[in-house]
């Protein structure tokens, strides 16, 4: 069941103020570079990126809900759809797609074809364990936690690591009902495809 009259991602994106994606990309690269210099351990950098993403996510959700007018999602499928179609479009200007639902409807893959974070990026051999876009997983986890959904977001495949497809998977743990205080964790793995048409 679709939410009542939410604004589409395109409509919102057209109405908000925008900045050049390259400034965004380069600033993100500067952040990752600073983290690598400070922390030196790739695992630590991954964790720190996720934490920073989490901090962003818990504030981003307010803006998202305010601007997008989506009503409460009925189930997790809808949530994932809204994230992919409206959320990504609204903030990053790209649309994602959802696939690979498991039997219970608690685990799915979100596929990003175009990721502004990784323009111009190549991972050196010393950083092969780095999840360069780990901030995105943190953002999603933080945002969903604020709406009472504990999730785990992991990267399945990443084009920067040499796989030909980038995948983020979201596995949400139980979706809570309105009056329910407790919730179960769902795992989310996000998939990101990077396709280039000539």
């Amino acid at each position: 069941m679709a939410p009542v009259a939410p604004r589409s991602g395109d409509a919102i994106f057209a109405n908000i103020e925008r900045v050049n994606a390259e400034l965004f990309t380069l600033t993100y690269g500067a952040i990752v570079r600073q983290l690598l210099t400070d922390l030196e351990e790739v695992e630590e950098v991954n964790k720190q990126l996720e934490q920073m993403g989490y901090n962003i996510g818990i504030r981003l959700i307010d803006e998202f809900l305010a601007k997008s007018n989506v009503s409460r999602c009925v189930d997790f499928r809808e949530t994932a759809d809204v994230i992919a179609k409206v959320g990504f479009k609204m903030f990053l200007g790209v649309t994602a797609s959802v696939s690979n639902w498991d039997a219970e409807g608690t685990c799915c893959s979100i596929i990003l074809e175009d990721n502004p974070l990784v323009d111009f990026v190549e991972l050196p051999d010393t950083c092969q364990g780095l999840y360069y876009c780990n901030m995105l997983s943190g953002v999603i986890r933080g945002a969903l936690e604020m709406v009472s959904m504990k999730t785990e977001v992991t990267w399945i495949r990443d084009v920067l690591r040499g796989d030909d497809v980038k995948l983020l998977k979201q596995v949400p743990e139980e979706y809570p009902y309105k009056d329910d205080e407790c919730f179960m964790l769902k795992k989310i793995k996000i998939s990101k495809h990077l396709f280039k048409d000539t």
């Binding site: 900045v19 050049n20 994606a21 380069l26």
Partner: protein, 194 residues
């Protein structure tokens, strides 16, 4: 959809075609990212000078890359060799690409020969930032100062670049000025070139 259309996988990032630079992200996404950058750096330093320096270093990396990108894409691999040329490149082209508009003004310093100022009523990076009183003269525009320093350094015009708040009468928020102080060798070279 997956599998539809021709798929070309690039193994080397240098083989990928260069983007046209028209893609955009939301201002809030950038603002969130920048605030995380500042917050992270706050945890790593003890004083404001260090914080400004770290922001500037982050900006320096951005500036160096912006110079390469713009020279290749917009200027056909020609580079500026004259002082005024590079200043107007920063003031117009770089500002337009990064912030969507040319900088408000470019002025020559009256007191010193080697000083120039780029002014902006409200820097994009400072829009959602308020500085607490106890941080004194700290300005997150240090990031933009770093970008400018990166561009100038990469182009062969070493300089010291700082960001300052300049209070303006009649306005609640002060103007931001990026002060550029060129190294001596730049001025010597400029004088030689006539």
């Amino acid at each position: 959809m997956i599998g539809v259309g021709k798929i070309k996988q690039y193994t080397n990032v240098l083989d990928k075609p260069l983007t046209k630079g028209k893609q955009e992200v939301s201002l809030s996404a950038f603002a969130f990212l920048f605030s995380e950058l500042v917050q992270y750096n706050q945890t790593q330093v003890d004083n404001i000078g260090e914080l400004e320096r770290r922001l500037e270093d982050a900006g320096y990396a951005v500036g160096a890359r912006v110079l390469e990108l713009l020279c290749h894409r917009d200027k056909g691999n020609r580079r500026e060799t004259r002082l005024l040329g590079i200043l107007s490149f920063v003031h117009s082209t770089v500002w337009k690409v990064l912030f969507g508009k040319v900088a408000d003004s470019l002025e020559k310093g009256t007191e010193h020969e080697d000083e120039y100022m780029i002014s902006e009523k409200e820097l994009l990076v400072n829009r959602f930032i308020s500085i607490p009183k106890d941080m004194g003269t700290f300005n997150c525009g240090a990031f933009v100062a770093g970008i400018v320093r990166g561009v100038l350094d990469g182009a062969g015009f070493p300089a010291v670049v700082t960001a300052h708040f300049v209070p303006v009468e009649g306005q609640q928020r002060p103007r931001t000025t990026i002060l550029i102080k060129f190294a001596e060798e730049v001025l010597h070279r400029e004088a030689r070139l006539g």
